[in-house]
Symmetry: C2
Subunit: 109 residues, 2 copies
């Protein structure tokens, strides 16, 4: 997986976890750029601001997401929990009930 794609996946995961802590405007910038894959110029046209303003806003949103992760560590925690979930499933590989409980556990994250 190339770096840019890995980074995009990471930012989307952080946004899923912390998007509710951003302002509506910040969420809008993020979604245009990372979820809908618009270019900076396209977003600038859409929102009638300069390309630089879009760039700055996105930088700010990303730094907020990183600060939240540094403070709360939910993404790191989620990775750890998924790993332990897989270890639990591996104890009884053919137990559908256990499997479904572990999956339910993952979904509540």
């Amino acid at each position: 997986m190339d770096n840019q794609l890995a980074e995009k996946i990471r930012y989307n995961s952080l946004f899923d976890l912390y998007g509710s802590l951003l302002t509506e405007k910040q969420r809008e910038y993020f979604e245009y750029y990372y979820s809908e894959d618009y270019s900076l110029s396209e977003i600038a046209d859409l929102l009638k601001v300069s390309r630089n303003a879009v760039y700055d806003q996105i930088k700010i949103v990303l730094s907020h997401l990183e600060i939240y992760e540094k403070k709360l560590g939910l993404l790191k925690q989620k990775h750890k929990q998924n790993m332990i979930g897989e270890q639990i499933k591996a104890l009884y590989p053919n137990d559908a009930q256990l499997d479904s409980l572990v999956e339910k556990l993952k979904k509540t994250e």
Copy 2:
């Protein structure tokens, strides 16, 4: 359990989850009042502010904690995960390895 105690436990749980998002000053007020059990007047004396100022600060801290829970829902999530963890353990009540993995899972929350 009386209401006041239940409330105190809830606020302490919210503080464990979201304390890192508060300012140092806000954490200080919370800890004096909820962890160290000082009275409003004692905190006012300690911090050389009015009793009303302490009361207002604590109200603000609690409202921040409730807003974070409303937005991120980590406490609710934790309760759900603990419940599912117990259901997983109940499938194999005598499996020490499973038990220890579920406990590990809880601790990463």
